[in-house]
Symmetry: D2
């Protein structure tokens, strides 16, 4: 099975530069034969899906609602969970082998924090603004979200390096490995 890469980031309006960087992340994921998971909506989610889709990747959106009305145009599959914004984000994180953070407001920060709880590797795309550029300041030793040191946050500042590192950090045995226990 392919590596499942969850990409999280700001919805709504984003700058041209962030859009371009997100697009490149999608492209690199596709070129490496990863499957892209995102929240399936606009902003970073749309740009990254477009980049993946236009380079032969498979793109999945984990939607908050029961309908596809807020799905962007670059999804191969929209899972219409009906679980709401917050809980669908948890399903997205749970289903990812590795998580990439691009820009982001409080919703994105929430997702990083959930990834940390589940000990999922997180790569922060530095230089994309929002929480992606502030999160290091609130960590312990530049990388831990609390004393438990579940995982180290990692940082890169180009799309290629972000995606390379993501694939390196994803658990090797993508198929049948144990990701630890939540419940």
């Amino acid at each position: 099975m392919s590596i499942r890469v969850g990409v999280i980031g700001k919805s709504g309006k984003i700058s041209k530069e962030v859009k371009k960087k997100a697009y490149q992340v999608g492209k690199e994921i596709a070129l490496k034969k990863g499957i892209l998971l995102s929240g399936g909506r606009d902003g970073v989610m749309e740009a990254v899906s477009k980049g993946a889709k236009e380079h032969g990747g498979f793109t999945v959106g984990i939607m908050p609602g029961l309908t596809q009305e807020d799905a962007n145009d670059y999804l191969d599959l929209a899972l219409t969970t009906g679980l709401g914004f917050d809980i669908r984000s948890n399903v997205l994180i749970r289903s990812s082998d590795v998580v990439i953070m691009i820009n982001g407001g409080n919703g994105t920060f929430n997702e990083v924090s959930s990834a940390y709880l589940l000990s999922k590797p997180v790569i922060v795309f530095e230089g994309t603004g929002g929480w992606a550029d502030k999160i290091k300041d609130i960590t312990q030793e530049g990388k831990y979200l609390d004393k438990r040191k579940n995982i180290e946050l990692k940082y890169e500042d180009s799309a290629i390096e972000v995606v390379n590192l993501a694939f390196k950090c994803a658990p090797k045995k993508s198929n049948k490995f144990d990701q630890g226990k939540v419940i």
Copy 2:
């Protein structure tokens, strides 16, 4: 976006004949460019995924646990929801445009019943045993699960006809349509 076909049916040991029928359903879904959604485990789920996968289809498993340890070998993507058997089934139904029932015990019956609650079209593959061959007896007028008449259950007895009918019943505007309100 492709039609999302949810296939539900018995886990665990199934007869050669049921396995073959499930395999053919998977094959037909793939040939029609549908995306196959299932519970991702063994039994009917494995056979249908194998049939789709070996004919170029894309196969998704909505898993009960947080790991892929019970995923069958024919999935392109396993969503490790960690929601448990019962709730992951609801996410599967919510994310399907149309549902196909093959054989099945109480768990499968539960999924049909959930599909009915959400007004999702259901095609029953007759002649596959289990609840697929008993469900008509408990319906009203051979097709409704209660007085509300949310949807008509439909029945076919060959893989090709089951899948043809499924694609005919799936809502036309697969992308942005409204599937009604659950919440």
Copy 3:
């Protein structure tokens, strides 16, 4: 901790007789110091909550939406899960030590089927119509929903006997017992 009794049954309009029987079930649960869990809406859910509330019981509704707008007037606590009708029902069943079925359409049948999957004891209040009076016909040996024989459905035809049996069937060590594994 008190015994947690989940009561499931038809929403919407119900007959005077069913209303009275549901009310009596609520009353008996309260007199026995059980906590009443229900879907928190109208119909059977309202009648049973009223019976419990007017006899000093504590009544909880596991609501489908994020608001309390469809909560009946006899709840001490409405949990506004926002998970939708189908998934909130699973949370209700998961949180109950024992389940009582009164009347019911497809939604209620779905809940019994979920209870069976989780091996929760179910008491059917016979003579209340709907699925409560039809379910025996579709069981194996009058009590099992499929071959796995997870639990036996039990039947009584008066409110007192239904609730007595429910308390007898609830796992003894209500606090720290293991209810088996779903995930």
Copy 4:
């Protein structure tokens, strides 16, 4: 219906001082006839439940697992959601009229962030350590978690004032009001 007060804070070992403060918060909630919702486990959750329970309050735990094995001894009702730590926290927040934060690591921060997403009022108990004492530093204007300014975080440094403010901030029409839309 009573005001539903969600209290969030560190699990596991906590200092005597934090334990005392959490206990007092529980006591004040009980004296004001609020219903206490928490994650139902040890640490802050246990101390606050003990305080409420010993002063006549009703205490509810929204548990991560399907069993009550990790429930503390001061719960009137444990809802065994089986949804896992992260998603059960969302159900807790969704079901609260107002949220009180005491101490806390990354899990608690995650819950505050979820509360903010849902526009639930949050009162931070200052002087209890952990994220409760650091969160102000990362807000905008001392109170917003991002530009959307969904809600203002509020701060108090004694149990009585924290609870008084919580009751003041809880939406007036606790029963049938609209808490906005998540899905």
